[in-house]
């Protein structure tokens, strides 16, 4: 019995060492990014690994903003796109899910099968047609083509449907009907509040997904004042920032700072959401 305990202890030590190593592996690149954002190009050239910040933050900021990169514009555009897309996706997915759960209609089952079938198809595969269509109607360099497609979010409808089936009792709907409430009113006033927990989880993921999206915005947006954060970031790979190491790190840090804040505030829900999303039950 004693040997079993010793071997358990050895294994436990290995587990902790590996987990701590992996945690450091997750943090270290970002730590370097934030620290180097405060160091001068000269300091970084002397030694690019430093554990503690320096004093050149303001200087780097001036160089960064003196060129093509504009954090404020990128932030505003990304905020508009991500919030708009999240609102659309959450509201209309809930509505569609409600249609699938609360009503018995002839095409319900085929419609649900259809949603399952298109769930995995990513937007990138139709990128060329999407671009041509937007170009024709003059919607390139507009944020609408990045927001409105979220009204049809098959994966979220699927998730919301599973959630509604587990939580919705049709008695509530029936009693609302007896009280004379219209169907649309019932959905907005009674069903939406019930769905809040599921909506919150899905909202976080949709927001982050849209914030990080690069492929479609890169196709649609060509004017700098319409750039979202990820496209703005790609400017940092350009030649004009080639030797401005400190500013590049600062630019990178700025683009992900909001994500870090959101993540550490909501990590508990995000982790739970990832687990839930996979089980979809």
């Amino acid at each position: 019995m004693k040997s079993l305990k010793t071997s358990t202890n050895i294994t436990k030590t290995i587990i902790y060492v590996v987990c701590i190593f992996l945690s450091i592996l997750s943090i270290f690149p970002f730590w370097l990014m934030f620290v180097n954002a405060t160091r001068s190009t000269y300091q970084i050239q002397q030694n690019s690994v430093a554990l503690f910040p320096s004093t050149f933050l303001l200087n780097n900021w001036k160089i960064l903003n003196g060129k093509s990169f504009n954090a404020a514009v990128g932030f505003m555009n990304s905020m508009l796109v991500s919030s708009g897309a999240t609102l659309c996706a959450v509201y209309f997915s809930s509505l569609t899910a409600y249609a699938l759960v609360a009503y018995t209609w002839k095409l319900r089952q085929p419609f649900f099968s259809f949603i399952l079938a298109i769930m995995m198809i990513p937007a990138q595969v139709s990128g060329i047609g999407f671009y041509q269509m937007m170009y024709r109607i003059g919607w390139t360099n507009s944020l609408w083509p990045l927001i409105l497609p979220s009204i049809a979010a098959p994966a979220m409808v699927f998730f919301m449907r599973q959630y509604l089936m587990a939580t919705l009792s049709l008695d509530i709907v029936n009693s609302a009907r007896i009280d004379g409430a219209g169907e649309f009113y019932t959905f907005n006033r009674i069903i939406l509040p019930i769905m809040k927990p599921a909506m919150a989880t899905q909202a976080i993921f949709t927001f982050v997904l849209n914030w990080n999206n690069l492929f479609i915005p890169m196709i649609i947006l060509t004017r700098r004042e319409k750039y979202t954060m990820p496209i703005m970031v790609s400017l940092l790979r350009g030649d004009i920032y080639k030797t401005e190491y400190g500013s590049v790190y600062l630019g990178l840090a700025l683009t992900v700072l909001p994500l870090f804040v959101v993540y550490f505030l909501l990590s508990k829900y995000i982790i739970a959401g990832v687990a839930l999303g996979a089980l979809k039950e």
Binding site: T8, K12, L25, S26, P29, F30, L32, S48, V49, S93, L95, A99, T104, W105, R108, F112, L116, M120, I121, P122, Q124, V125, S126, G127, I128, G129, F130, Q132, M133, Y135, A152, F158, Q162, M165, E183, F187, N212, L214, F215, M218, I219, P230, V233, S234, L236, R237, V248, Y249, L252, T255, L259, F264, I271, V274, A275, L276, A278, L279, K280, E281
Partner: protein, 320 residues
């Protein structure tokens, strides 16, 4: 039974209208449009008019014969495999550790938060960050390796084919193993605890429990992780595009980077890019069908259960 009272069925249709409209306009139409462009001569910046080619499959033939496209597909597959195998192995190992009742690992919450973190950070930013980290001749990775005495002189990671592929695969691995781990842990927590208790009473070792109980029960979840990762991997774009723009010598050029380059640089070959997209689309459709059968069974079970509950509720109503 359905005939009593007001007919509410029409609201099922009404409430599905926004979804259906948005899908038709923003997904189905562009998809069909892409297919059509694949058969035409549409090329050149700003062009929207086109005529169909005499040989409708010319674009497809040219793309299939294009060495760069072939290379990009092989690259996509190679980089995906280089990331997925270590990813799933590490995720399984961590799952086995975190769910083992004998080890009772403390601080799991904080480990999960930190290990998952890279997954939500903008891939575009991470690509450029790693480009700086692996910088040459001065860069954090080179500096560290030289301080530790592993390297004598700084290595130019960006110039060699396999180190570039390796870094792209590593970034994908590093961003996604936490996600896979959390999904797998959720899967293990869904297994009935009595199974593990029974095995423990019978004197099974943790290794035996993992291989004889946990793994077989995780089959569906593992398949889910595999397929979602494959579909995502086929779309790999942000990291290879911004890490080295597909270089050096197309070593990190993936299918999606190739498609984007065809359509939005050089001579703006929308038609070739569309044909290439459709070829990738076919692969994804096959994978999606697999996924569809995987998810459908569980969805239908639920529906049947709900239907029974509805009938019961109606009966109760009728008896009152």
């Amino acid at each position: 039974m359905r005939k009593k009272g007001i007919n509410y069925a029409k609201y099922g249709y009404y409430f599905s209208i926004p979804f259906v409209l948005a899908y038709l306009i923003f997904s189905l139409y562009p998809t069909i449009y892409t297919v059509i462009i694949g058969f035409t001569d549409l090329r050149g910046l700003g062009r929207t008019t086109f005529t169909f080619l005499d040989d409708p499959f010319e674009n497809f033939k040219l793309i299939l014969a294009n060495d760069t496209f072939k290379k990009s597909v092989v690259n996509t597959a190679v980089i995906w495999i280089m990331n997925f195998i270590p990813q799933i192995l590490l995720a399984l190992l961590l799952t086995a550790w975190f769910t083992n009742r004998r080890f009772k690992v403390k601080g799991q919450g904080i480990f999960k938060v930190l290990i998952y973190m890279p997954n939500i950070i903008t891939a575009a930013t991470i690509a450029i960050l790693f480009n700086s980290l692996f910088g040459y001749p001065k860069g954090p990775v080179n500096d560290l390796l030289m301080t530790l005495g592993i390297l004598d002189a700084p290595a130019n990671f960006h110039m060699q084919e396999w180190t570039s592929k390796g870094v792209v695969a590593f970034i994908q691995f590093w961003m996604w193993y936490g996600n896979s781990m959390i999904v797998l842990i959720a899967g293990v927590l869904g297994i009935s605890p009595t199974l593990f208790e029974a095995a423990e009473v019978d004197g099974a070792t943790p290794t035996q429990i993992f291989f004889k109980i946990t793994l077989p029960r995780l089959k569906t979840i593992l398949l889910y992780v595999l397929i979602t990762s494959m579909v995502g991997g086929l779309q790999m774009y942000d990291i290879p595009k911004l890490y080295l723009w597909g270089g050096p010598d197309n070593a990190t050029l993936t299918a999606n980077v190739f498609i984007h380059n065809q359509a939005f640089s050089g001579s703006y070959l929308y038609n070739r890019a569309a044909a290439a997209s459709m070829l990738m689309f076919l692969i994804i459709v096959v994978l999606s069908i697999a996924m569809f059968y995987l998810m459908r069974d569980r969805g239908e079970q639920k529906l049947r259960r709900q239907e029974r509950a509805r009938v019961r509720a109606l009966k109760r109503e009728a008896s009152v």
